[in-house]
């Protein structure tokens, strides 16, 4: 449904993203995660044709994503990280204005979303809190029943109850076959709703897999307590998560027997082996 091929974007000499390749299938919720400056927003702006890629292409339904192709534009719903709308309009006027860009009348759909998200449509845009503005942004992105939803930090500013409603809406969309590109910092929500997750670092996609596979890729979180912890640490060549007095916590990515052999040489007080959480995986890729 959404295919990104060798997408590269440089801002002068500064790298935005480099040779990013990604295919997102119809009806899939794809999580896109990475720290600030990793290239998430650049990727989204390229998908939305707000900026021009240095090289590479984006395809939607195997058609090149041309900014003048109105058929493609109708297929996409977009929720930016920060929602900026026209302050002089009321919510209801804003929604009507958005509806005016489509030949079809989406008032029923708008009404459904407004009720679901509990939005006061009589308020002026300038009076809205950040969370309420985000809710209006969600309606604007979903009102025309798009085939692809591009969501940038969709839940930031939303209260927990509305977040739940929003996840429900996303799952409804997924059931209809909508493809959802979901950029987020919130690992637990990605774990909850995404089919697959892509981790972006320094402009490169460093991992793409399902949450299940990512957390089951032979990585282990090891906690060792020993008076010889400094010597053990020296011999280990692994990603250290934390060190506190005689306790060392690290990600172990090799054959576990190697670790056991190594630990046999020291006096160990305690060893704990755990499966990694999504947070641990994220940290592993980012160290």
């Amino acid at each position: 449904m959404l295919e990104i091929k060798n997408l590269t974007k440089y801002y002068g000499d500064i790298r935005g993203i480099e040779k990013l390749n990604l295919t997102i299938n119809k009806g899939e919720i794809f999580g896109f995660i990475g720290p600030n400056g990793a290239g998430k927003s650049t990727t989204i702006k390229c998908i939305m044709n707000q900026i021009n890629p240095t090289s590479g292409e984006i395809y939607i339904n195997k058609v090149i994503n041309d900014k003048n192709d109105l058929k493609l534009k109708k297929m996409i719903g977009y929720l930016p990280d920060e929602v900026h709308l026209y302050d002089d309009l009321t919510v209801s006027e804003m929604l009507e204005y958005s509806n005016s860009f489509y030949k079809r009348n989406y008032s029923k759909r708008i009404k459904y979303l407004v009720e679901k998200l509990n939005i006061d449509t009589t308020k002026k845009i300038e009076e809205l809190s950040l969370g309420n503005l985000k809710k209006v942004g969600i309606v604007l992105a979903m009102m025309h029943e798009p085939k692809i939803l591009v969501l940038d930090e969709a839940t930031s500013g939303l209260d927990p109850l509305i977040k739940e409603t929003f996840y429900e809406l996303l799952l409804e969309e997924k059931a209809k076959g909508t493809t959802i590109f979901f950029s987020s910092h919130n690992l637990s929500e990605l774990k909850r709703i995404c089919d697959r997750v892509g981790i972006v670092k320094d402009g490169h996609l460093v991992a793409v897999d399902s949450i299940k596979e990512l957390t089951n890729n032979h990585l282990q979180i090891i906690t060792v307590v020993s008076k010889d912890i400094l010597k053990i640490k020296k011999e280990l060549n692994q990603d250290i998560i934390s060190q506190d007095n005689n306790e060392l916590k690290f990600i172990f990515k090799d054959d576990i027997n190697i670790l056991i052999k190594l630990l046999c040489n020291y006096k160990i007080e305690k060893v704990l082996m755990e499966d990694p959480s999504i947070e641990d995986i994220f940290m592993h890729y980012y160290k």
Partner: protein, 263 residues
């Protein structure tokens, strides 16, 4: 989208038009209440001691200001040109760029319209607003002249509408300049600066023949009132140059905006 654009820009249009109407009203009221036989003499005495260059700058060497239409042909014409050009420059600087400056372009650009559609709606809105401003000021001045019993309709219409030959190219030039920026603050300064530099160059070029060439660097030359007053007709060369500037600017706006990074 055009309807929405007209609504957004209505407030600015009303304010600028009211400023224009207010200043013309003061002049008409002043002339209505003047005893012209005495005032004419004192005005002529005052003009007699003024340097010829200064009189030439405001066309007062060829027209007296002892009548309201005489005032209109000199200072009134300069005033219409300045106020409409300032409005056109500010409108051109903001109309497209404001969407980016306010970041509402993220919403607008996600809707099923092309960038060219956005530019077209903004251009039409700008032209309609400038047209309305000229129409209101012209009708007001016709009424003022009728009440003053000093109506010369053909010349009044030419003088009232000729500043469009500067205002409209200025609108497009400022709009084109705005496609090179992402914030309105800088472009506003450039637009207003362009108006005053143009005005200054035209004034200076009138003082001395040695610097007469400076008028070719001024957009105000495109609607030179002196030509209209002396020839009683519009300068078609200037009109053609205006049209050429408009065509080049419009082409540039569409080209630039379709390639612009909307960040």
């Amino acid at each position: 989208m055009l309807k929405r654009e007209l609504k957004i820009n209505r407030k600015g249009l009303i304010i600028w038009t009211i400023v224009g109407l207010f200043l013309f009203s003061i002049t008409y009221i002043t002339y209505f209440n003047m005893d012209m036989s005495e005032t004419s003499k004192s005005i002529n005495d005052m003009l007699a001691v003024m340097p010829k260059e200064i009189l030439k700058m405001f066309n007062m060497d060829i027209v007296g200001i002892d009548t309201v239409f005489g005032w209109f042909k000199t200072e009134g014409y300069t005033f219409i040109t300045l106020i409409t050009c300032l409005y056109a420059a500010i409108l051109g600087s903001n109309i497209l760029l404001k969407e980016e400056s306010d970041k509402t372009i993220e919403f607008l650009h996600s809707k099923p319209i092309t960038r060219s559609n956005i530019v077209s709606a903004k251009i039409w809105c700008g032209l309609i607003n400038i047209g309305i401003m000229f129409a209101v000021l012209t009708l007001f001045n016709i009424s003022g002249m009728v009440l003053s019993d000093d109506l010369h309709l053909k010349l009044l219409l030419m003088l009232s509408l000729a500043p469009m030959a500067t205002a409209i190219p200025l609108f497009f030039v400022c709009m084109l300049i705005s496609t090179f920026f992402n914030k309105t603050s800088k472009v506003n300064g450039i637009g207003i600066g362009l108006v005053f530099v143009s005005y200054f160059l035209q004034l200076v070029s009138a003082i001395n023949d040695n610097v007469n060439f400076l008028k070719y660097f001024s957009l105000f030359t495109l609607s030179d009132g002196r030509d209209i007053i002396t020839n009683n007709s519009l300068n078609f060369t200037s009109l053609i140059i205006s049209v050429i500037i408009i065509i080049i600017s419009v082409g540039g706006i569409y080209y630039r905006y379709n390639r612009k990074e909307l960040v």
